[in-house]
Symmetry: C5
Subunit: 308 residues, 5 copies
């Protein structure tokens, strides 16, 4: 995620980091060159494009704007839902920890240990979910919070985050069996675990189910056709300014298209993706603070305006 204040006036045009320009400059260049060719051709042989006018292009452009607008909307909602789910995870982690301290009988050593280990497992969960979504190796982040024996169990699990939730549930069950927790408070704790499971499933849903492929094809084909036809449509009236206009409009449409594609899969490491690392570090700091650990890890800082 890019974190910076809005740049003002002309400096706005010289920012590349976080911009989608690097992804689409090839296409823009191509359309601009096409515009140059068409403009030059029309300049010397004005009779080549007698039949073309802008009107049907305009009509087509309204439809394209609506379709791009819809796709952008759907992509943004996926991005924002991803962020909401991780916000939900922050709440559930904090609430689970708060309730563990408040519900489990802490007068005996077994109770204190159970509280502590379950909170540590919650930290491990947020790391495990992040690494699963980004397909990176989770173990260095998880190791410090899981016993060796449980690590063996987790390494064999099919879904690591889900297995951690099962460990948490097991720990809580043991507390009830040892008389450190009543069944009603166990059910209350389970609600937080279910929220964590919901966050996991929602993130998996966003990641494994892209926008319908045919929809993307339709929008992109339309955008290409539009930008390809555009120079021919405007050359009769715009003459030598045709390449400039073509470039600007290609920038607008291809830019929105590229950005929508980036936002639709929000858990990666690109400039406009969600800062999962920073969020899971926040959870880590919050929960270690609850346990009273000192010193706390540092929050993740934006590097070069960019938060991972």
């Amino acid at each position: 995620m890019i974190v910076r204040d809005t740049p003002h006036s002309f400096r706005l045009f010289f920012i590349l980091r976080g911009s989608v320009l690097p992804l689409i400059y090839g296409k823009i260049l191509f359309i601009t060159l096409l515009g140059v060719v068409v403009a030059v051709a029309q300049h010397f042989y004005p009779d080549v494009f007698p039949d073309f006018t802008l009107a049907p292009v305009a009509l087509f452009g309204v439809a394209l704007s609506l379709f791009l607008g819809f796709r952008n909307n759907a992509s943004y909602e996926r991005w924002w839902e991803g962020r909401k789910q991780w916000g939900q995870l922050v709440v559930a982690s904090r609430s689970l920890s708060r309730q563990l301290l408040s519900y489990i009988d802490g007068s005996e050593k077994a109770g204190i240990e159970a509280q502590e280990y379950t909170i540590k497992l919650s930290i491990a969960f947020s790391h495990a979910l992040r690494h699963q979504l980004r397909q990176t190796d989770p173990w260095s982040d998880i190791q410090p919070y899981v016993t060796e024996q449980d690590t063996l169990f987790l390494r064999q699990a099919n879904s690591l985050p889900d297995a951690i939730l099962r460990l948490i549930a097991l720990k809580i069950r043991q507390c009830r069996e040892q008389g450190l927790l009543s069944d009603i408070l166990q059910a209350s704790l389970q609600e937080q675990i279910t929220v964590m499971a919901q966050v996991q499933a929602a993130c998996e849903r966003i990641q494994t189910t892209p926008l319908p492929f045919a929809y993307m094809l339709l929008v992109q084909r339309t955008a290409y056709l539009y930008c390809f036809i555009l120079p021919f449509g405007i050359v009769a009236t715009q003459g030598l300014v045709t390449p400039l206009f073509s470039a600007i409009i290609a920038y607008t449409f291809f830019g929105l298209d590229a950005l929508s594609e980036e936002l639709a899969a929000p858990f990666g490491l690109s400039a406009n993706h969600l800062p999962l690392h920073a969020i899971s570090r926040t959870i880590e700091i919050n929960l270690l603070d609850i346990l009273g650990e000192k010193p706390l890890p540092e929050p993740i800082e934006a590097q070069d305006h960019r938060l991972a």
Copy 2:
């Protein structure tokens, strides 16, 4: 569902799998031919179409874009809600299993058997729901997870998935009666079963209640009329390029229409439908993993970029 990266540049135009082109090429061809006839007629007898101009067509086109956009929105939301419901089923299956292991007293054999059988019934539920939505035969997928006696009961049931939920509820009730579960934890388990019932009813709602028929009629009639009138409207200014323009615009509007129709009923087996088979297999793998079964079944892989 089509699973593949976005193809780049010109290869984009040569993809048929997942595209809606095969569904609408007849209509596009028809409009193109009409464009040819009109363009040729106008070329030789320019006085035939003196009265027509593009303006009212444009006006009509904005309205049509808005209506198609609305319908597309409604269809996409049905598709995405379908996916959300199946995501909800993933959560509920995992959470029910986790809670069964955490709540039911597993120190006696009866408890362990109850845990195991109830989890297996949850697997059967997801298969049963998928087969009901796709109107295929469920028994080969369900058989391995249900006792013979219960199979007899299920075969007589009016709604198979609902009957499986009743079996689960019955099993849980027996646990309470045998003292393996307190009433408060039974109520907590029932909440997950209610979520599963909600998923079933929501999928049935999406499947049995299409978008209002009159709405579809209105949009499709408008789209047909528009594409039919278009060549006459643009021939005076576009001349011999008329067929090309007509084809592109027919592709855009008919394509969006066809795609909307496909997304509005998302549980089938077409290229843009939801991969219910893959999701229910995921549930199967997750739950068998919880039970410690080895080896686990293989996840469903996309064949030729297509996930069923």
Copy 3:
């Protein structure tokens, strides 16, 4: 509700059932005739309409499209929310029944009778709600499921569905008082009853609170003015084709207007209203199946593509 596959190509234009054409053909005819008069007048006295051009009409048309689009959106959401509420009722009825069998002690006759009667009252609720929304007589559908004594009580009630819910709550209370049900399971059952009460209140809300009257006035007046001005605006350029264009655009706008009005009050008996009869019959079949009754009533079938 109309239940049929999408008709293809030209047959699309000859469907009347489910179409809104019968509601608006008078208006379309009027606008067409106006178009004829204007076109003929312009043909013989071309100087009559020198001042008019299409441009301000187009401008007006974009605004009208947006307003109609918004109204259509709001109406569709009311229709879809109505359907969701009835889907919710299906879930709540099934879940209440499942929980009754799972919670109430069925080892004594009193328990079994209570389960059975409460489930029958749930069937009566869905019939009562449907009849209230459609303002038809409920008693023939309700009689079979309510004792004579309770019928007397219900006949005096101010709101029949609400009174049935109170009977259900009373029955459940008696079970607790007789020791057949713990207080915690009673509270769990009450949640389903509250869902049923929510469905009732939501349906009442949709039925008694139409879209703001002033909004409807504004949209309809604008649509009328637009279609009335249209022939004058296009006659200068379109000449004798003016009536055809006027008719098509009048069809589009008046059609969307009429359909929006129909969808906004979705509980009636028109072709595009919700099939409440079929849904409440589904609930009846599901619940009688749970009770093991044989033979089950037949589901409501679509007659002539129409489901009531």
Copy 4:
């Protein structure tokens, strides 16, 4: 709220009650007169407006339509959320009453009295909330349902509806202390009270937080500028019909603006506001019916198509 069937054809244009015309006829008149002046000036001195064409006005009009459309959407959602909240209050009042009768031990006089008084306090709550939102005097409606002693307490309260909820909570607490209610059922009752508190806070939110002032300024200024420029923009092509066009378009835009403003604060007494009086009377009738009181108060009827 206006309650009437849609008027047909030309009668549509002669309805004032519920229309926004009375609020905006001044502005429309002004724009019309401006149109007359501009048209006459152009008729006699055609060279005065040589430079103006419609094109930039059209462009401006699309933007204005979108902004007005957005604002209308936001206002309508406030109005509809207000209605939903009051529907929620209907559910919560009925459910609280149903649960009071079902949960509290009614075999002793104390229990029956507690049930009755708590239900009466719920009636008082809906009256109190309505009067707070409309800033009218609540006491005549509340008096019959509150004891004299509690009236003294309520008169000193900072927020009357909130104080009534506290009285209800107190009454329920006494029942538990007297052994008429278990703690689990008390918690279940508290959920309904929390819903009532949510309704109150949501209504307060809608009432105290208008749409951002700057947004309203921007939209209204744009609408004014647009309608002011319009006659100059169309006079070259429309000539003497300019005033008519200006009037119609001013009606459309100012009308939507005025309606949006009315819907955005939906709890007042204007024609398009919500019928809070009728809804709180419905609650009163429902709850008195539950208590078996005879005769029940009359429902509020629409007077001259208007429901308060």
Copy 5:
């Protein structure tokens, strides 16, 4: 937040407070001057701009309107969600207080003290959250409600609001351990605390996750380019009125852009931000009123139509 009635007619144009004009007058001036230069140049050397027409500008304008409209929508939703969260905090604070008085045994001094102190901590929570969001010093507002010992603890906490919630949970736990509260009622109280934690996390989400930077870049660059090109596009037809038109359209687009940026981060102290101070004071008054304190603090009044 600006609190004032809608000004009427021409006074509308002379309001600066709450308007976005002060933020964008520089840009408008620049575009106006550009318009002047272009218009004068065209007046004296009409051959300089022969190639330009409005058509492609119009096309571009529709796309820009849609993008600005989308961004405005997303920003408004952030602003309104922020307000909803604070409304949720009002409900949770009141409900927690009501339930504390209703659940905790108040017959002994320990119970009364616990009720009182926990309610005071809830007041402190709303102040702490506001100060965190506005990055101001919280201690003067919090001091009166927290014991000295707890202040020491809070000063070391990583997240102040979260630490206050943990203090509340601890207090409630002590009540259960002292026998003043059953476990079931403790779980019910925890639900309100979880709601408060959700409000905190949602506010943090809105504050730390701006709209995607690339999106903002794209929209702003497009708006700049559009307003820069506009004078060239309209000068051929509008002549000397070009600067006026350019200024108005620049006002519309830059104004919407500036307002969207302000609404997207709604917790600050600008004119269109949310009145967090007034809301947390309302909570303070409500809760002190529940405790029976006299005199209550004054509500925050709008100063010069502005509520902080």
